[in-house]
């Protein structure tokens, strides 16, 4: 197994991409018309105060030097101060990010588990009623954006069936668990509070379903078509002819090569979920990164926007590396020859 060098090379490429992303985001933040210092202090602040902030933010230096100084700070884990909340961006993100991470995490579980199993079952029973139902619903799932699902789910469960709570992270008045990771479900488990865990978990269900439905449907569709393509290969036919049990053929020889394209697509979709989470969190009144994100966006809080984007960039790139390793495990051509198929 020559996975080591493969991972190292992949890591090097990611660092390059992250570096490029930082240049891109920095350039956009600086090219945009308007003086960040003036925007932070408001139109009525005296000129010398604005000038002092400009110096503090290094806005009086040449662009290249600004970037160098900014990168130096970022490399030391300092994303600057938020111009709105007046606190370090890092602290803000640490406070709001876990909630979103928790939500996206559950969403990702839904996407992977439900998407792949639906796809596999519907390929196994191709052209039966089950397959047709899955195909119809996956089409509807794909074309309905997460925030439309959020509205529909909220209507159904807030108005018709009162099974799941439709607002917030915890029932009103419940005291959140002591902060360890910031994720309520994990914190409550670590504190041994199963009642709290259940409450937090129930609050996650609806937003997670809303976020998961479109990518899950996409994953089911791709898994099904990829399975169907591989099903017609001679190697599978000969295996069936040799009398290899159906479970082994499907579960091992068919599933492994068929998972490559759905996994690649799912990684992109899970990353995009962070974007759609903005809307879904707002609809369900879920206090995650969205509330913070929208606030800083509408206030043109450049430091905070850049900080949030960089954090998401790191998350996405990590996700991609994980996917590449999984794909390399699934496809020996990549693992052994380092070839991109």
């Amino acid at each position: 197994m020559r996975l080591g060098p493969f991972v190292l090379r992949r890591l090097a490429i990611s660092i390059f991409v992250l570096f490029g992303l930082s240049i891109l985001i920095f350039l956009i933040a600086r090219i945009v018309p308007g003086d960040p210092a003036r925007m932070a202090l408001g139109p009525r602040a005296p000129v010398d105060v604005v000038e002092r902030l400009r110096q503090q933010m290094h806005l009086d230096r040449p662009l290249l030097q600004q970037y160098g100084l900014w990168l130096w700070e970022v490399a030391h884990g300092n994303l600057g101060d938020s111009l709105v909340t007046r606190r370090p961006v890092k602290q803000d993100i640490r406070e709001f990010f876990p909630a979103t991470l928790e939500l996206v995490g559950l969403t990702a579980i839904f996407i992977v588990v439900a998407g792949i199993s639906l796809g596999v079952i519907s390929a196994r029973y191709a052209n039966t009623w089950f397959d047709n139902v899955v195909r119809l619903f996956s089409y509807l799932g794909i074309v309905t954006p997460a925030f439309a699902w959020a509205v529909i789910l909220m209507l159904l469960f807030g108005f018709v069936w009162h099974i799941f709570p439709t607002y917030g992270r915890l029932t009103e008045g419940v005291i959140p668990p002591a902060t360890i990771t910031g994720m309520f479900t994990i914190d409550s488990l670590l504190n041994g509070r199963f009642d709290l865990f259940w409450d937090a978990f129930m609050h996650l269900i609806l937003p997670a379903i809303a976020l998961a439905l479109p990518p899950m449907s996409q994953a089911a569709r791709i898994t099904r078509s990829s399975m169907a393509d591989n099903q017609n290969k001679d190697c599978i036919a000969s295996m069936i002819a040799y009398g290899v049990p159906n479970r082994v053929v499907t579960g091992k020889y068919l599933l492994k090569p068929s998972l490559i394209s759905p996994i690649t697509v799912m990684a992109l979709d899970i990353a995009a979920t962070f974007g759609y989470a903005f809307m879904v969190e707002k609809i369900f009144g879920f206090p995650g990164l969205a509330r913070y994100g929208i606030q800083v966006m509408l206030n043109k809080d450049v430091n905070a926007i850049v900080g949030v984007v960089m954090v998401l960039g790191v998350v996405f790139i990590t996700l991609n590396i994980v996917v590449d390793i999984i794909v390399a495990y699934l496809d020996p051509r990549i693992r052994l020859l380092g070839r991109n198929v």
Binding site: A148, L155, F159, I294
Partner: protein, 301 residues
């Protein structure tokens, strides 16, 4: 052969007749699938509503600054098919007018990102293995290191919230995907014999890129474009949902949902119908795009 008139004597001489024949054949394949035709009908409906909005909408004056507190928050009725919003505006009329900006945005975004992405992708694909490919594709990698929705949100966030700026933001995050798809097509097509033959006969680079390689990418690109009209609308709605993009009182699908969410679940129609409208647009263009893909793909057994 004779019944469909695919290869008539006139079509061999007259290139226009040949184009017409191939169009007829494409339409024949397209119309075989009733879902594709349904998609086409939906797409035509959306365009019709957008273009003739002032004549079609039941209350055209409700698309701008308009307040009628007497008829606010009315549930759907025969007078207001989709109900009225918090200040008494007819939701159906506002949705019809919102289609205008949604389509305008999709057209502008695609009109810029498709040519740019195709050109860079073709160049990188044809010169694969050289520094040209490295530069173009590594820059593209950086842009697609974030999903379009996140990149568009963050760019729009740093600009002033206008329709124009949200178009810029979406365009910047959209072109790399065209670069990538054209690149992968072009880098495999350039090894085909007909491209090598053209090279041997001394055809110019421009000729090879645009007359040999590009036409063979066109069916994938056309399909993606048809699908993308729906997706751009969706991302545009996402931007206006968080308050970036077209500003009130002008109607935007995302803004309408955001307003309606505050009123859930009692006044459910304010958020539900704009959400269904987005679904309609994405569904229509998806069915249409899938139909184009099936119609343009080579014969299958």
């Amino acid at each position: 052969m004779t019944t469909k008139g695919i290869l008539t004597a006139s079509s061999l001489e007259n290139p226009w007749a040949r184009t017409l024949d191939s169009l007829k054949k494409t339409w024949y394949k397209f119309s075989r699938n009733w879902l594709s035709v349904l998609g086409l009908v939906m797409v035509v409906t959306i365009f019709f509503l957008a273009v003739f909005a002032p004549y079609v909408a039941p209350y055209p004056q409700h698309s701008g600054k308009f307040v009628d507190f007497k008829s606010k928050n009315q549930p759907p009725s025969w007078q207001h098919l989709m109900g009225t919003d918090t200040i008494g505006r007819d939701i159906l009329s506002r949705i019809i007018f919102a289609f205008r900006n949604a389509l305008l945005m999709a057209i502008v975004v695609l009109a810029i990102s498709v040519p740019f992405g195709t050109l860079t992708g073709l160049t990188a694909g044809y010169y694969s293995g050289t520094w040209v490919e490295t530069v173009i594709m590594r820059v593209t990698d950086v842009f697609i290191s974030l999903p379009p929705i996140i990149l568009a949100l963050s760019i729009a966030a740093m600009l002033k919230p206008t329709l124009m700026n949200s178009m810029i933001a979406v365009t910047v995050s959209w072109w790399p995907w065209y670069t990538r798809i054209t690149y992968s097509l072009a880098s495999s097509i350039k090894n085909e014999y007909y491209v090598q033959a053209a090279e041997l006969t001394g055809a110019s680079k421009i000729y090879i890129l645009f007359r040999e390689i590009l036409p063979n990418c066109s069916s994938s690109l056309l399909t993606k474009m048809a699908l993308d009209v729906g997706w751009v609308t969706l991302v545009g709605a996402a931007l206006s949902f968080v308050g970036l993009g077209e500003q009130p009182p002008k109607p935007a699908l995302g803004t309408m949902i955001a307003e309606g969410v505050e009123r859930m679940p009692t006044q459910w129609w304010i958020a539900l119908f704009p959400a269904l409208a987005i679904m309609f647009v994405v569904l229509g263009f998806n069915l249409f795009g899938d139909g184009i893909r099936d119609a343009l793909s080579p014969e299958e057994a």
